[in-house]
């Protein structure tokens, strides 16, 4: 299999399988980090000092250290240090470990974006709700929330597009995502070896996917443009 045209279908299939795993990690991270981020945000804004200082310390540690190290710690620490390999050795175990590291890491970033969004809504909005006799709950859900969402769309889209590419860090624990799949053709797989173009070609997948996300986010922004905050 020497010609590019012979190699391409094989590589394309393998990269698709890898990209599916990439997408799975991406989706699970969002599903976990978006709500967890809100909890962390409320924790860091809490008027109960011990809670807010603990939460802020966690956010500092998570944002202040490399995601790659966090992945390695989550994956290897239980097995190598505690001698209980809770994740198991297979792809399933690697996926769970990667998901936990990604969700925690991204939730911390999201929480700060949320905090900015909530604090950016003018205090007068809350007071206007109060003098009309609305409850705190009604004020948050009927007045503050949508204004906060509108404010956080641009920074969130930024962070989410970064996440698309950060999933490649899971390669470090041998999660079989698209980088792993592309690299396999360097050492040899399915009769193809010594080829670096499949690894380079993975960039096209990221590029297309982040392009689609960019379009979706600008649609959402347009949808929310009927009002100004």
């Amino acid at each position: 299999m020497n010609t590019f045209f012979e190699q391409f279908p094989i590589v394309f299939n393998a990269l698709n399988v890898g990209f599916l795993q990439t997408m799975k990690l991406f989706a699970v991270t969002l599903l976990g980090a978006i709500p967890l981020g809100l909890l962390i945000c409320f924790g860091s804004m809490s008027r109960f000092k011990p809670l807010s200082s603990v939460v802020r310390t966690i956010v500092w540690v998570v944002r202040g250290s490399p995601l790659m190290i966090q992945l390695l710690i989550v994956y290897y620490f239980p097995g190598l240090v505690l001698k209980t390999a809770i994740w198991g050795g297979g792809e399933h175990g690697r996926f769970i470990a990667a998901s936990i590291a990604f969700i925690l890491n991204y939730a911390c970033y999201f929480s700060e974006i949320y905090r900015g969004g909530i604090q950016g809504v003018p205090h007068g909005q809350q007071e206007a709700g109060q003098v009309l006799g609305l409850s705190r709950r009604q004020i948050f859900f009927k007045i503050t929330l949508l204004q906060m969402i509108k404010r956080i769309v641009p920074p969130m889209s930024n962070e989410i597009i970064t996440l698309v590419k950060d999933t490649s860090l899971a390669r470090i624990i041998a999660l079989q995502e698209i980088i792993w799949a592309g690299q396999a053709f360097m050492k040899g797989s399915q009769g193809i070896s010594g080829q670096i173009w499949p690894l380079f070609f993975t960039a096209v997948y990221y590029l297309v996917f982040s392009g689609i996300l960019t379009i979706l986010f600008s649609k959402l922004e347009k949808k929310l443009s009927y009002f100004k905050v």
């Binding site: 007068g124 007071e127 206007a128 003098v131 009309l132 009927k142 509108k150 009002f227 100004k228 905050v229």
Partner: protein, 252 residues
């Protein structure tokens, strides 16, 4: 019997005493203008009436109901405060309309959430109020599409939708371009014929003079002078009032 009775309200921010014992009363249908220089405590007084600030001392009555007693030991719950503040409406200096709702929705939001009437009646009442402030054709537009003066008129309609006993205005024209203040003042004046009871904190001396039934001049957290517009503007007794009016009405 007075509709509103305020007795010896005192409020501090840290060590700074902003209200040093304010007492006054207001009859139903009266328009009270509160004037005074910045930092004299006018806005804080309105915010105390609307439970946005809690005074350290004093009592507030509406009719024969005691709304607030600084001597009371237990703190009022959010729920209690919510019921009590419905006696008052407040129009803010910078409108604070809800940007994601159109004009009609801004007016109906609170009555609908608090279910004070049937949805049909709430909407009918809201449309009536919007017509009263002259914005019928803007009902489906959003706040960002309106001028400042129009936004402030919506804010007035929104406050009236909860049918408050007393409507308070906190410098309603201070955030407006000079050519827009007239329409807002006219709208407020228009309410007077509808015998609403109003408290207007204002820097518009002409308005206070011509529309108010009674004027209070505040300085340094106390009521320095109180009376009919003729008393306060034409025959001020206090030296501070005289100085303030002279500076305010000075012709260039």
């Amino acid at each position: 019997m007075a509709l509103l009775r305020v007795e010896d309200i005192r409020k501090k921010f840290g060590k700074n005493e902003v209200l040093k014992g304010i007492s006054f009363s207001l009859e139903k249908g009266e328009v009270l203008a509160i004037i005074g220089s910045s930092g004299s405590g006018k806005t804080t007084l309105l915010r105390c009436l609307n439970f946005l600030e809690t005074p350290e001392q004093g009592r507030i009555f509406v009719g024969d109901e005691e709304l607030f007693d600084g001597e009371a030991n237990e703190k009022m719950s959010d729920e209690q405060i919510r019921v009590k503040r419905l006696h008052f409406g407040l129009v803010f200096q910078n409108f604070n309309l809800f940007p994601q709702y159109n004009i009609l929705q801004n007016v109906t939001l609170a009555p609908s959430l608090l279910k004070i009437d049937t949805p049909q009646n709430i909407e009918a009442h809201a449309r009536e109020l919007i017509e009263k402030v002259g914005l019928t054709e803007k009902a489906a537009q959003y706040p960002c599409e309106l001028s400042g003066g129009q936004q402030q008129r919506v804010a007035i309609a929104r406050a009236l939708a909860m049918r408050p006993d007393i409507l308070c205005f906190d410098e309603p024209t201070s955030a407006l371009d000079p050519e827009l203040t007239g329409e807002v003042l006219k709208a407020i004046k228009g309410l007077k014929s509808g015998d609403s009871t109003m408290i207007v904190v204002t820097h518009e001396m002409e308005f206070a003079k011509n529309v108010a039934d009674r004027v209070i001049f505040m300085a340094d957290g106390v009521i320095e002078e109180e009376g009919t517009p003729a008393d306060v503007f034409d025959h001020p007794k206090s030296e501070k009032t005289r100085a303030f009016l002279q500076n305010s009405l000075e012709n260039f």
